[in-house]
Subunit: 345 residues, 2 copies
Amino acid sequence: MIIDCHGHYTTEPKDLHRFRKEQIAAANAKDKTALPSRASLKMSDDEIRESIEQNQLKLQRERGTDLTIFSPRASGMGHHIGDESISFEWSQICNDLIHRVCALYPKNFIGVCQLPQSPGVPPKNSAAELERCVKELGFVGCNLNPDPSGGYFNSPPLTEKWWYPFYEKMIELDVPAMIHVSGCCNPAMHTTGSYYLNADTMAFMQLILSDLFKDFPTLKLIIPHGGGAVPFHWGRFRGLALNNGRPELDEIIKNNIFFDTCVYHQPGINLLTDVVPVENILFASEMVGAVKGVDPKTGFNFDDTKRYIEKAPRLSDADRAKIFEGNARRVYPRLKTKATVKAAV
Amino acid sequence: MIIDCHGHYTTEPKDLHRFRKEQIAAANAKDKTALPSRASLKMSDDEIRESIEQNQLKLQRERGTDLTIFSPRASGMGHHIGDESISFEWSQICNDLIHRVCALYPKNFIGVCQLPQSPGVPPKNSAAELERCVKELGFVGCNLNPDPSGGYFNSPPLTEKWWYPFYEKMIELDVPAMIHVSGCCNPAMHTTGSYYLNADTMAFMQLILSDLFKDFPTLKLIIPHGGGAVPFHWGRFRGLALNNGRPELDEIIKNNIFFDTCVYHQPGINLLTDVVPVENILFASEMVGAVKGVDPKTGFNFDDTKRYIEKAPRLSDADRAKIFEGNARRVYPRLKTKATVKAAV
């Protein structure tokens, strides 16, 4: 079985965009009476089916993957837009939509939620939505935004007490978080080109010099996009850890930090699988996501990362089985109760 | 000949730190009368000699490198501290100190300057100090800070007209710039662990989607630390460029963007030299810099990057000659007039 731990619903029904546009306009106008109503949303099952069958499901079948851990469009979370109430309404709508996809295709998709974060608002305020998504919708994790400002990195580091109540809820529910920023409103950074990768690198560096995992030994965090710059600079990060009296990175990350395989060329995946312990790598493609289209040099889609894993020279078949399935089952423990949860919904 | 294009004077005489501490205290107190005087600085030639001979020069000899393109401590530039006048005074002092090192060891060091940048101050205001350093001190380049705020990335992208007058001066003087941030005052980021790399990645993404090099076909920019996250995500950046109607990265960077080799492990250098054209790679170690000490797995210093270049399997002897010397002579044209300039000083 091949589990893709990083897929976003980037082909949403049109009316969701209409709603969001109106919601943003109202939020910016500070005229809450003009907010669109949730009841106004028109997204039929047929429309959802078509958007999935022509895209994510088609690609799953073509590429031979089985289950996508599926969440709302990351760049669309837009935590910097409006206030907490706007973020809350939008997050619930997006999460409910993911739930509909998962209910229509229970064998192919399982949900991960976006959180109602907002700049300056304590992360503990997101705990209730996480609980709703896990307990009522059968979701198995969440995307946690380390920079709700959308590009100015002015939140406390992930290792600060500010985040602890939210981690407590994650542990209570036995779910991991993928550390994932949203769309960038800072003109200096490109959302999928530099901002995503920079947030990944920032998060890793915060974590390795901290005692966070002493406080939360079972906390599991996935750093997407192959860990940003980290594997390429594994020697730099090893050296900085050792110079700061920390152990080797392999030891630091062992039970707590995982990288996905959203790295869109063979040499990158070769490096990732060469330096990062195989137990800490989760298969992912981020499709349909950041980089669409065919690589003219290979003839295959840039984001068809399964091919790169299959060709990575250092990996044994047992290693590939861990990356494709075993590690995901360990990091997302609720995957194993999937059938039960789905039946109960 | 082996030219290291990225070395900082990180072993400065003690009194420089005393001066800076007093200068910062005065800047924060907003009491300019308390500013220390430049004349108060006590840094003897003997002290400079000892600091260099026990460190950078010793390492040059041990490792077998010949010439270091040498600049003030990057994390010490501190453009976010005080105002433009503070930055100007501090930059001149640091640059003059580099000049003294280069005058004492003209065969081993050649200068690159720090610029008197300050948040919100137009980069054109740095043109005069660049000119002074090149024409009067014989320097061959500069370090240009894309984020003088020290970690909040609120400057216009490097491709904006805001920077153009400075680029015009660079071209007039025939010198390149290394894009290099300074110390980070944002608690979310670690200076050498995430901030430096994030600025590198940010800068590259700004450049590849722009027409900057149509406006300045001879502008040469070095992105340090192996290009941040870029080589590891070469497929992502290629895909994003192609999706935006741009050519292949090799073509975009050809005459204008160069990566150094400050990547502190063999797999990282292997990847760098595998994906980036050899013509766009400059040898560098950043020593004595971000990562001190011996890698317990190899028995050699993390930042002894010459070893990694020597062992990179894809490189021919001709490739290594380009990386070690040829490319630097092309990117820093004033290196060739070094002897003349030094004689004139």
